[in-house]
C-alpha cells in the first residue's frame, strides 16, 4: 500500500482533471513528496511547452525564454502567496493547515498547466501556419487572432483549475459559501502578484521591432498597476 502511494503515477493527473473529489481530498490529507514532484513536473512541462509554442512566432530563442518564464510565473506566484493564502483560509472559515492550502493551490495550477500542455500542439500548429512576425503582421488580423486564441486557451485553463479548486475547497470545508470566500481571496492575491510577475518577466509573444531578450531593460522600472493607471490617464486626457 505504502509502495503504491509513493510511486510517481501519471494517471493521477487524470484523476485531478476529472475532479474525483474523494481521491483529491485523500491526497490533501497525506501529502507525498513524489506527488509534489509529479505536480511540479506537470507545471514545468505543461506551461513550458505552451510558452514555447507562444514564443516561437517571434524567434526560437524567444520560445526558450517563454518556456522558462511561463512555469516560473506559476511557481513564483504559488510560493509568493503561500503564507498569506494559508493564513486567509482559516480566517475566512476554512480551517485547513498551511500545507493543505499550498497543496490545493498547486493542484489547481497543475490542472491549468496540464490543459495548457495539451493545447500546446494546437498553438504550435497555429504559429507554424502564421506568416513570420513583422510590423505588418503585428498590425494585422493574424496577430489579433493569435492573441485571442491565447487568451481563450489561458482563460479556459485558468477557469477549469479554479472550478476544481472551488469543488475541492467546498468538499474540505463542507460549505460552498466558505469555499467561495476563500477562493475569491486566493484569486485576488494570486492575480495581484501574478500580474506583476508577468509584467517583470515580459515579453511573451514579443515584438518584431524589439530585440529578443529574457527581460526588457525596463523590467524593474514601474509596475503593472502603474502602467494601467498611466494608460487610463492617457485615454481620458486625450
Amino acid at each position: 500500500m505504502r509502495e503504491q502511494s509513493e510511486k510517481l503515477n501519471p494517471h493521477e493527473i487524470g484523476t485531478l482533471l476529472r475532479g474525483d473529489l474523494e481521491s483529491i481530498a485523500a491526497w490533501l490529507e497525506r501529502w507525498h513528496a513524489r506527488r509534489l514532484a509529479l505536480h511540479l513536473v506537470v507545471i514545468i512541462f505543461g506551461a513550458g511547452l505552451y510558452g514555447a509554442a507562444m514564443g516561437w512566432w517571434r524567434d526560437p530563442q524567444q520560445a526558450l525564454y517563454v518556456a522558462i518564464k511561463f512555469p516560473l510565473i506559476i511557481l513564483l506566484t504559488t510560493m509568493g502567496n503561500v503564507l498569506i493564502n494559508g493564513m486567509l483560509a482559516p480566517l475566512l472559515g476554512l480551517n485547513i493547515p498551511l500545507r493543505q492550502s499550498f497543496a490545493a493551490i498547486l493542484m489547481s495550477f497543475t490542472i491549468a498547466a496540464a490543459i495548457l500542455g495539451a493545447f500546446s500542439p494546437v498553438m504550435a500548429f497555429m504559429i507554424w501556419n502564421a506568416p513570420p512576425m513583422s510590423p505588418q503582421a503585428v498590425s494585422g488580423a493574424t496577430y489579433s487572432l493569435i492573441k485571442l486564441v491565447n487568451v481563450a486557451i489561458i482563460a479556459f485553463a485558468g477557469s477549469t483549475g479554479n472550478v476544481r479548486l472551488f469543488q475541492t475547497l467546498a468538499r474540505l470545508g463542507g460549505s460552498r459559501a466558505v469555499a467561495f470566500r476563500v477562493l475569491v481571496a486566493w484569486l485576488a492575491g494570486n492575480l495581484f502578484l501574478g500580474s506583476q510577475l508577468s509584467w517583470i518577466l515580459r515579453p511573451f509573444i514579443g515584438a518584431p521591432n524589439l530585440p529578443v531578450e529574457f527581460f526588457r531593460a525596463t523590467a524593474l522600472h514601474g509596475n503593472f498597476y502603474e502602467n494601467v493607471f498611466q494608460t487610463l490617464q492617457q485615454i481620458f486626457n486625450d
Partner: protein, 258 residues
C-alpha cells in the same frame, strides 16, 4: 473412457442484455461485443456494422493490437484516396498527394490527441489514454474507409473537370461527410463513458475540424501543382480559400470574355 456420458451437456441459457434505467445498453452487455477482433477485415467490418464491439474491445487490456491495425488501415486507405486525388494533376502529385493526405491526417490526430484526452477527463469520463488513442484511431479508420467509398466518384470528376476550386470543394464535401460519421462514432463512445457533459467534446470537435482544415492549407498544393513540395508562404485557410475562389472567378471571367 469410451463410454458416452448419458447425461446431455447442459447449455447455460443466454442472459439477455440488461438495459440501464435510461434504456441505453452498457458496453459489453451484448455477448457479441466480447468477441475479439483478430484481423484487419474484422476491424473494418466491426467499425461499420458493430461499432460498439470496437468500443468494447478498446477497453480490454490487449487493445494495442487493435489500435495498430486501425492505424494501419487508416494509413493505407488515406494513401489510396490520395492517389485518386493526385490523378487530378497527375505527375508528381500521384505520390505527393497521397503522402500529404496520409501525413496530414496523422499529424492532425496527433496534434488533437492531448486536448481530446483532457476534455475526456474534464467531462468525468474514466477512459484511459490508451482507449482515447484507440477511439481516435477508430475515427481515422472510419473516415478513411468512407473516403475510399467516395474515391470512384472523386476519380470520375477528376478526369472530367479542370476546375481546381470545384475539385477542392468536392473533396472537402467528401471529407466532411466522412468526418461527421467518424465523429458520430466518437460521440457514441462518449455517451457510454459516464461523461457529465458533452460540451468539452463539442469544443474538441471544433478544434479538430479547424486543425484538419488548416492542414490542407499548410500542406498545399494537394490537388494543384507547385514548384516546391511544401508552400513557401504561410497562410490561414480562410485567406487561402479566398485567394483560390478569386483566382477561379478571374479565370471564369476571362473565359467569358474570350
Amino acid at each position: 473412457m469410451n463410454e458416452q456420458n448419458p447425461i446431455p451437456q447442459q447449455i447455460p441459457p443466454r442472459i439477455p442484455p440488461v438495459a440501464t434505467p435510461s434504456g441505453v445498453l452498457q458496453l459489453g452487455d451484448d455477448p457479441a461485443e466480447g468477441v475479439p477482433i483478430s484481423n484487419v477485415v474484422a476491424a473494418i467490418d466491426a467499425i461499420l456494422r458493430h461499432p460498439r464491439r470496437v468500443m468494447f474491445q478498446l477497453r480490454q487490456p490487449n487493445a494495442g493490437k487493435l489500435i495498430v491495425m486501425m492505424m494501419l488501415v487508416s494509413v493505407v486507405c488515406s494513401l489510396i484516396y490520395g492517389v485518386v486525388a493526385g490523378t487530378f494533376s497527375g505527375g508528381d502529385q500521384l505520390w505527393a498527394a497521397p503522402s500529404k493526405i496520409a501525413a496530414g491526417l496523422m499529424i492532425s490526430a496527433l496534434i488533437c490527441l492531448p486536448s481530446l484526452y483532457i476534455f475526456t477527463c474534464l467531462s468525468g469520463s474514466q477512459a484511459r489514454l490508451v482507449e482515447v488513442c484507440g477511439l481516435l484511431a477508430g475515427l481515422l479508420m472510419l473516415m478513411t474507409i468512407l473516403l475510399i467509398g467516395f474515391a470512384p466518384v472523386a476519380w470520375i470528376f477528376s478526369q472530367t473537370t479542370d476546375s481546381l476550386a470545384w475539385m477542392g470543394t468536392l473533396h472537402l464535401v467528401f471529407w466532411f461527410i466522412a468526418t461527421i460519421f467518424g465523429l458520430r462514432f466518437l460521440e457514441t463512445r462518449f455517451s457510454h463513458s459516464n461523461a457529465r457533459s458533452h460540451a468539452g467534446f463539442h469544443t474538441w470537435v471544433i478544434i479538430f475540424l479547424l486543425v484538419a482544415v488548416q492542414m490542407t492549407t499548410a500542406l498545399r498544393p494537394i490537388l494543384g501543382t507547385a514548384d516546391t513540395f511544401l508552400p513557401t508562404e504561410k497562410q490561414f485557410f480562410v485567406s487561402h480559400w479566398g485567394d483560390c475562389l478569386k483566382a477561379t472567378d478571374n479565370e471564369l471571367k476571362s473565359k467569358v470574355r474570350e
